[in-house]
């Protein structure tokens, strides 16, 4: 979340700047099996976010000290392309933000994967944000989740998430770029299919009541996103779509 700016109107005539209702998500499209070399892959277009994920493994752990005797080591690398955001050209390579996101994504993926099936091995999830427009960590999680399913990895659950936040004092779901930059709070949450919370971060200001309502709204919407993952996988196996990268 950026800084709150009271001079920028985010709600006009009861609607958000992009015309959405308060609880309406941006358009989400998922396409699986888009990369040749990866074991599993997916691309996600979520509003103006464009994300590609590729999974490798299970393979030998390198560096070796990260090996875990009883389960797989999950390494998630979330990165943003240098040209991805509307702001200045950024440096390539990890920064503190991307390292923190990689870390929380790894923990969430470890929850959904049956890591005990691959003791001493590692599973590598590489997720790259090619175009960024707020909510990239959740788009990245979605791409990673779809790529894991595409790769046939054994899972305990599937999972998906959406953010809640406040814009001009109104509780809204799935913040867009303006709402993220100038709104009053941002709360990304990922739920597994049992409805439990496996990723949660929050910044900004929210009262207890607003937070309670946010959790109710986001948990309901996360189920809709899980359905989109299922449909994307079905489409691949039904041969309905040519699975290739397509960002239009």
């Amino acid at each position: 979340m950026g800084s709150h700016n009271p001079n920028i109107k985010l709600i006009v005539d009861g609607k958000r700047l992009d015309g959405r209702a308060f609880d309406q998500l941006r358009n989400i499209s998922i396409n699986v099996g888009v990369l040749e070399n990866a074991v599993g892959s997916a691309q996600v277009i979520w509003g103006d976010n464009k994300v590609v994920a590729g999974v490798y493994g299970p393979r030998d752990v390198f560096p070796k000290y990260q090996q875990k005797p009883d389960k797989a080591f999950i390494r998630t690398i979330y990165s943003m392309a240098t040209f991805a955001s509307i702001e200045e050209h950024s440096r390539s390579g990890p920064n503190k933000r991307s390292q923190e996101i990689s870390f929380v994504l790894s923990e969430a993926f470890e929850n959904v994967l049956m890591v005990e099936k691959f003791p001493g091995k590692m599973i590598d999830l590489h997720i790259t944000v090619l175009q960024a427009a707020a909510g990239t960590r959740l788009a990245a999680f979605l791409a990673g989740m779809a790529a894991l399913i595409d790769g046939g990895f054994p899972l305990n659950e599937i999972a998906a998430g959406v953010s809640a936040g406040k814009a001009d004092g109104a509780l809204v779901l799935d913040l867009d770029k303006a709402e993220d930059n100038f709104g009053q709070s941002d709360l990304p949450i990922v739920y597994n299919s049992s409805g439990e919370i496996i990723l949660l971060q929050m910044d900004g200001k929210m009262t207890r009541d607003e937070l309670t309502e946010s959790i109710e709204l986001t948990s309901a919407k996360s189920k809709d996103i899980m359905d989109l993952i299922r449909k994307a996988v079905e489409r691949k196996y039904a041969g309905e779509v040519k699975t290739e990268l397509n960002f239009r």
Partner: protein
């Protein structure tokens, strides 16, 4: 310095003249850093910040930044010149619960941060014009879940046995930052309950800020 159990975190605040960020030319800059000193734990290694230290500094940063207790516009000096507020957290001894100890240390240090004297756009070292005004005290409560038990303020063994961790930072009537960690999951009602507990426990932490 703040100490919770065996965890000791020293926070230092320094103000320096710097260029503002291009998108916020009339605001000062808040920069949080954290050093997990190898002397503090056999599990801390020398070298650049690892993911643990990055998460630590970013969680403490979020609580303080989102609560808007520091008027960043008051750190503006002149066109192209603002004050940078550098808060550095040095972990001297590690016995679990870094986040709450770090937030407490940072808030204690901010409370007695003196504003440097500025004359014709230059910062005069060693001369001050009163304390940095604070609009409130964000303070965090960290919980871990082990099996069916959820406990506040985990010590080092509880942390290593934990399935999941949740940090909730509150300021006045607001929740200003949260961070879930660990592989395990929380139920929705557990999160809402822990939010209530963290509002209750604020008062205890507040007593330690002098």
């Amino acid at each position: 310095m703040a100490q919770i159990g065996n965890t000791k975190v020293l926070a230092g605040v320094k103000l320096s003249m710097m260029e503002p960020f291009a998108d916020e030319p009339n605001k000062g800059v808040l920069i949080m850093g954290a050093e997990l000193l190898p002397m503090a734990s056999p599990t801390f290694e020398p070298g650049p910040p690892d993911e643990r230290s990055i998460e630590f500094s970013r969680v403490v940063d979020r609580g303080i930044r989102s609560s808007e207790i520091i008027n960043m516009e008051s750190l503006f000096v002149e066109e192209g010149k603002v004050l940078g507020l550098f808060i550095d957290l040095y972990v001297l001894d590690y016995g679990g619960n870094l986040f709450d100890t770090g937030t407490l240390a940072a808030m204690s240090a901010l409370k007695n941060t003196r504003m440097p004297k500025i004359e014709s756009g230059e910062l005069i070292r060693g001369e001050y014009t009163g304390n940095l005004p604070l609009g409130g005290y964000p303070l965090s409560s960290t919980f871990v879940k082990i099996g069916n038990f959820t406990m506040l303020d985990p010590e080092i063994h509880e942390e290593s046995a934990a399935d999941a961790r949740l940090t909730i930072c509150t300021c006045e009537e607001n929740i200003v930052a949260m961070q879930k960690g660990g592989v395990g999951a929380f139920k929705k009602e557990e999160v809402l309950n822990l939010i209530n507990v963290s509002f209750e426990k604020r008062d205890i932490l507040m007593k330690h800020i002098r």
